[in-house]
Point group: C2
Chain length 200, copies 2
């Protein structure tokens, strides 16, 4: 009997390779280093709407998306969620703050790698290559965040068009209300912006 399924097959050994090839684009790991990072990370599938990491917890992770999409968000004092970042395949997300300010939730079924914060510290401590790699990751995350901040000074319509251009693939998978949240506007207003773009 053949089991039919839309979800991709889960093959533990294979997934770590995506992480290794990402790191190897920037530094070259030897056998010991490769084995070391493999021993510290956890690769696992995740289901749509699953909360992968919760704000307020002391357990923090760097999260690498292997397939599917996730979003990282915070919840303000009035209980409203604000999306900080979307992440697709080969993107890191997570939260450096302790306790964590942000939560991460799966937007689609997919697969992720979890690197616990303590394990990341051990990696960086033990091998300079990991220190270098994560310096690179943080440096680029900083630049992206600065760009995001800069964009927030433009109008909602401009931000939406820029979002579309950049994350075309995401729009298929993400409810509009989360896109509105990412853009910093209400779902109602995003609906009006979209309407105006179709027939101005």
């Amino acid at each position: 009997m053949v089991v039919q399924s839309n979800s991709s097959l889960y093959l533990p050994g294979m997934n770590i390779d995506i992480l290794l090839s990402l790191i190897n684009q920037f530094v070259t790991l030897d056998e010991e280093e490769t084995a070391f990072v493999e021993s510290l990370v956890v690769s696992r599938p995740c289901k749509r709407n699953e909360v992968i990491a919760q704000s307020g917890k002391s357990s923090r992770y760097m999260i690498l998306v292997l397939s599917g999409y996730v979003m990282t968000y915070y919840t303000d004092n009035e209980g409203v969620d604000h999306v900080v970042q979307f992440a697709g395949s080969s993107w890191w997300t997570g939260d450096q703050n302790s306790p964590a300010l942000y939560s991460t939730r799966a937007l689609t079924d997919g697969e992720i790698i979890l690197l616990p914060k303590a394990a990341q510290d051990v990696l960086m401590e033990r091998h300079i290559k990991f220190e270098r790699y994560f310096r690179h990751v943080f440096q680029h995350a900083l630049m992206r965040m600065q760009a995001r901040f800069t964009e927030s000074h433009r109008t909602a319509e401009e931000r939406y068009l820029a979002f579309r251009a950049r994350y075309a693939a995401l729009e298929q998978h993400v409810p509009q209300k989360y896109i509105a949240s990412y853009l910093g506007i209400t779902p109602e207003f995003l609906s009006k912006v979209r309407k105006k773009l179709v027939r101005p």
Copy 2:
């Protein structure tokens, strides 16, 4: 004859010590490493309104403020400046992008250390301690930028009150129009916010 001056005396040798003690709070430099960093940085005074680094240039610097205040800003398509960051004593500023997106300008007379981007790369390449130190700097800059982004969702009045609480010392030295720019509002509106706070 005695020359009178408000500006502090400029003593070349002494200034680097502030940089070294900053780094040594996080890693411990030996003699060679200390000499190496000393050989790569430039310490110099800066004058009010002087442009220390210019956007669009390929020459980029990490800038450490020793005394006085500086601001880092970008200029949008309409020619309007937007303040990204203020920096006071012991704060790093600068721009990782190439070519640079941001400019840095002195708000008061003061002293700064310039670390050219290429020199920073050499430092990080040669000694793991610098790699580690700057990873730490970037990681924290990222968290501050995330916090700044988060704040941008609150009202102008809330942002102004938060700014005041956090940068009380700065308010003395910075024209209101730059504070307005930092807060993402017009100078006119900041004036109205302030008026309302005095007599609501």
